[in-house]
Structures are given as structure tokens and as C-alpha cells.
Amino acid sequence: MIAIIDYGSGNIQAIKNIYKKLKIECKFVSEPEQLNDVDKIILPGVGAFDEAMTQLNESGLREILDLMVLEQKTPVLGVCVGMQIMAISSDEGKLDGLGWFDAQVKLFDENIINHKPKLPHMGWNEIQPKSEHSILTSIDFEKGYYFLHSYYFECHDEKDILATTHYGDIFHCAVNKGNIFGFQFHPEKSHSNGINLFKNFAEL
């Protein structure tokens, strides 16, 4: 059973629609008890870093998520801000992140973006895989995914980089450490590439 964490942030309905179409069981989870029969977790998120962290901290799910992800090694997939909060902290906010990755979230450097508009990074962009992983099976990298963000994720450990994208400069758009995955883009809004990513995650 896949859990889509409903802590008040992110397009949870769109993710559910995709799994419904794939006929893969999933459910919204907002209480710790609901995680009993769950073997995979999706952590969505949009908006501001501090807002998302606050909502997660107040949701009552923080402890059990740390337990499931860090100790029980439950596969988890973070989307957009859901990925960003997996870092240690963000330039955007004051709060600490989950610290699941040794990473920092930073603001794009507008000086190296040579067109208008500069921010946010919005639209379809290609991704370049940095390592092989079954989660990237059947993905059309040139077609890429839909991005919508002004801050980006920077891994301190190169081994954690799963894929990169270019905007101003190259940044880490997909990260992976063991059971933990984070994607800066919106697979739930990226047609077949997104559907395949969610499918691959379910099949891990």
C-alpha cells in the first residue's frame, strides 16, 4: 500500500489519480495509525519551505516518518517542496529540514539567468541522468518534466545525485540515497514520464 502524505501541502489528488489509473493501491495518510499497512511513501509539497515544514511538524507524522524512512528503510519519494524539506535547511526559510539528505536548498542565482523571466523556473525541461536506476526506466529524458520552483536542491554528496537539469547552471533535479528519492519537478503533471516514474517507484 502506497501512502500519499496529506499534511496540507501538495497536489495529492493528482498523484492519487495516477495510481488509480495504474490500478495500484494508494491512500491519503494524515494520521500515524494509517501508516500501519504502508510499504511505500510519497511526500508531496508546494509553496514555501517553512510553511511545509511547519505543517509537517504539526501533523503528528514527523516521528513516524523519521522512523519508517531512516530506520525501517521504507521507500519514500518526495515531490517538489516535499523533496526540498528532505534537506538540512533552505535559504528560503528559517526552520530545519528533515535532514534526510546532506543537502542545502538555495535560491537560483538570477545573475546567471540571461532571459526574462528569471524566476520561477517554470515549464518543461529535460533531465540528464547521472546514474542508472530502475526508477528511471522508460523515461524520455529529452522530453523531461514540468518544473515550477525558485529554489533548488544542492547535494553535498555527489553519490546522492540521480539526475540534473540546466537552468542558469546545472542543478540537481533528482536525488537518491538508498530508499529515499527526491524529485524537484512535478511527475504528477508530466504526462507519460510522470506516470512511468510513479509506476517504477511502486515496482521497487
Partner: protein, 257 residues
């Protein structure tokens, strides 16, 4: 590299899809759900759906329709029409919609944009401005489906919107609406000079070339169109379509330069 987005724009009137010419004479074009489903299967970049009745009639957005449309969309969806409060905006977002568009309310009550941005995130707030050319070659903003002239200077107002902070600005040319003879390039140029927020243009696209030329010129811009993606040929036969493959490839090439 980031590609420009090509965005079909659908107008909903009396529960059905319509197409107008210069904001008049709505022609019935069919069922919104089927249209969105087909666009989804064609894997379009993004979609805008505007309910042109809601504000005029002073009614709530049609949440049931929005939910059905969101169900069919595996690409970002922007909904506009009748949104007056942050609660309504949030309700719409929770149905699976990415962006909420405001027009009249943004014009007469721009502070609302801040309140809405606080709840759904600035990136999801879109402002649509309907523009008509004046006799002297300058531009006026209109509201209420092109019926009410707004006493604000267009370029001052868009600068104000940038200061307030919005996710995207959609400039809709009333004069070119449904005419299919090209975008109002002069208008676009002026707006682009005055603001740096993400810009999408609507009104006038008549061919793939109109879109390609626009993207070639501005590199990163939203190219939206209604008639182009809904009609075909001299008889304006209703047939949902999108850009041909060669045009999509060209857009990828442009993004790599």
C-alpha cells in the same frame, strides 16, 4: 534547457465550450470534459480553462466541473472564473488544479492577490488582463468580458502586480481574439519591457508559425491559443488539435540555443 510552454485556452459558457471573436458571438464548440481529455492524450504542455460566466453572473466557480477537468489532466491546469476569495482559490487547488487565475478581482482588489498567494503559494497565482487598443494606439484594460473599461494605466498596473508578487501574467488581446491573424506583437513587446514576471500571451494565434516566431523572439514565454487548437480550416470546423510534430521539435531546438 527550459522550453517555452504552448498552452491551449478553453472558454466555458453555459457549461459548454465556446469560442469568441473579439470577445463576441460565442460559438458552441462542445463538451469541456471531452476536450480536456483529448488535450491530455495529446500531451499538451499546459491548459487554461476560463469560465466566462461566473464573474458576470456573480456565482461560485463550478467545482464539480473543475474536479472532472482536473481528473482528466496529467499536465498543469490553470482555472479562472469567479474567484473572489482565498478560500475559493484553495478549494480549487485541492481539487487537483495547479494555478488559479484572477481577472476582475485582481484589477479592482489587487490586495486579494497577496491573501491568495499566502494560502496557495505565489507561483500558483495567475492574473489575466484583457486588453483593447485605443484609437491613439495605446492600450486599455477591460474587465467583465470586455465590457467595462478600467481606469488604470496598463503598464503602471502590471508593474504594481509585479511588486505585489504574482506567479504569471496572461495578456489577452481582445482585438485579436478569434481573428487568427497573429499575436499583437507590439503589445507583447511593451509589456515584456515593463515587467519581469512570467508572461503568457493570448489572442490572435492563427498558425504554428505565429507561435514559433513568438518563442524564437522571446525564448521563454507562454504561447496560448484558443481558436488555433479548436478549429481547423476555412470553415472553422471544430476539431481539437495541437502543434504538429515539426513545431514541437523546433521549440526544443530553440530552447537549446
Amino acid at each position: 534547457m527550459l522550453r517555452s510552454r504552448v498552452i491551449p485556452c478553453l472558454l466555458v459558457h453555459n457549461k459548454g465550450l465556446v469560442k469568441t471573436v473579439k470577445f463576441k458571438a460565442p460559438k458552441y464548440v462542445g463538451d469541456p470534459i471531452n476536450a480536456v481529455k483529448i488535450f491530455n492524450e495529446k500531451e499538451v504542455d499546459e491548459l487554461i480553462v476560463l469560465d466566462i460566466d461566473a464573474t458576470i453572473n456573480g456565482v461560485e466557480p463550478n467545482y464539480q466541473m473543475i474536479e472532472h477537468l482536473a481528473n482528466e489532466s496529467r499536465m498543469p491546469l490553470c482555472y479562472g472564473g469567479g474567484v473572489k476569495t482565498p478560500e475559493q482559490a484553495q478549494k480549487i487547488i485541492k481539487l487537483g488544479v495547479e494555478k488559479v487565475a484572477l481577472s476582475s478581482e485582481a484589477i479592482y482588489n489587487p490586495k486579494l492577490l497577496i491573501d491568495i498567494a499566502n494560502i496557495i503559494g505565489r507561483q500558483s497565482v495567475v492574473v489575466v488582463l484583457d486588453i483593447k487598443k485605443t484609437l491613439f494606439g495605446s492600450y486599455d484594460i477591460y474587465s467583465h468580458n470586455g465590457k467595462k473599461k478600467v481606469k488604470k494605466n496598463l503598464f503602471e498596473f502590471v508593474a504594481e502586480l509585479e511588486t505585489i508578487g504574482i506567479g504569471e501574467l496572461v495578456i489577452n488581446s481582445i482585438d485579436n481574439d478569434g481573428v487568427m491573424k497573429g499575436y499583437d506583437l507590439a503589445l507583447i513587446k511593451k509589456v515584456r519591457e515593463h515587467v519581469s514576471v512570467p508572461l503568457t500571451v493570448l489572442g490572435g494565434a492563427g498558425s504554428a508559425d505565429d507561435i514559433l516566431n513568438l518563442i524564437d523572439e522571446y525564448k521563454i514565454i507562454g504561447a496560448s491559443a484558443g481558436s488555433l487548437f479548436v478549429f481547423k480550416g476555412v470553415y472553422k470546423a471544430v476539431l481539437i488539435n495541437y502543434l504538429p510534430e515539426f513545431a514541437l521539435q523546433k521549440i526544443r531546438q530553440i530552447s537549446k540555443t
